[in-house]
């Protein structure tokens, strides 16, 4: 499971889908930028998110770097990365690059090794205290895999 450099950005291919078991066919592979400054799990654009039929759960408000406030619609989705599928939060916005935050990497249980000289990114499995989803119907009745 590797990422790739494009310019100075690290891209990772994730498969994202709706938590609704009736919508499994809606999964899409999306290239996202690994953003170490992103505190959320995943940020997608409306164009990426709408076809996935993610579950809307509310509105999140942030203060951004210039001190102003932004509100993102907040959804729940399922991300597949390597051999693991996990529930995650997905913030959606009108435009911009899709971003993957560090918290998602933690949940998936991978250690990232970046070589800026060779421009290589390698994701290594870590024995994190995580388990893969076995049933999509686990949500929202169980705390699923993110403990």
């Amino acid at each position: 499971m590797d990422g790739r450099f494009e310019g100075n950005k690290i891209y990772v291919d994730l498969e994202v889908r709706s938590p609704n078991p009736l919508l499994n066919e809606s999964s899409r592979k999306i290239s996202v930028i690994l953003d170490t400054g992103c505190t959320g799990d995943l940020i997608l654009t409306y164009a990426d998110a709408f076809p996935l039929a993610l579950t809307l759960v509310g509105l999140e408000e942030y203060t951004i770097a210039d001190g102003s406030r932004v509100k993102f619609f907040e959804c729940i989705g399922i991300v597949r990365f390597g051999d693991k599928s996990i529930f995650c939060t997905v913030s959606i916005r009108p435009s911009g690059s899709p971003l993957m935050g560090i918290s998602l990497l933690k949940k998936i249980g991978y250690v990232i090794e970046i070589d800026f000289i060779k421009n290589t990114v390698i994701f290594k499995k870590e024995n994190a205290n995580l388990t893969s989803i076995t049933k999509l119907s686990d949500f929202p009745d169980k705390k699923a895999e993110t403990k």
């Binding site: 505190t39 759960v57 509310g58 509105l59 408000e61 203060t63 102003s68 509100k71 929202p140 993110t146």
Partner: protein, 96 residues
């Protein structure tokens, strides 16, 4: 056949306005004990679900209020109420 009339979802502005009011009403208490955690607020009851993991806080809120939308904020991220900020732009992740 029974008609099912869904409860209307609040407009985003209403959700944010009510949520912010509840958050700032309990901001000091929340920042003392749960700084950095996520607060998921059900705006009609005023109930707040918190966890360091946003997903878990949302799941807990959804268990109790499966059909509701929530106002979500990271505790400590918002410094003051929107109404007191001059020049603040309300927006949903974009600016026209």
């Amino acid at each position: 056949m029974t008609d099912i009339i869904p409860s209307p979802s609040p407009a985003p502005e209403e959700l944010a306005s009510k949520g912010e009011k509840i958050y700032f009403g309990r901001k000091d208490e929340l920042e003392k004990t749960k700084l950095g955690q996520y607060a998921v607020i059900e705006v009609d009851s005023g109930e707040i679900f918190t966890d360091i993991d946003k997903l878990i806080a949302i799941q807990e809120a959804k268990k109790k209020y499966p059909d509701k939308l929530f106002y979500i904020v990271q505790i400590g991220n918002l410094k003051q109420s929107l109404k007191s900020e001059i020049g603040e732009v309300k927006r949903y992740g974009w600016t026209f």
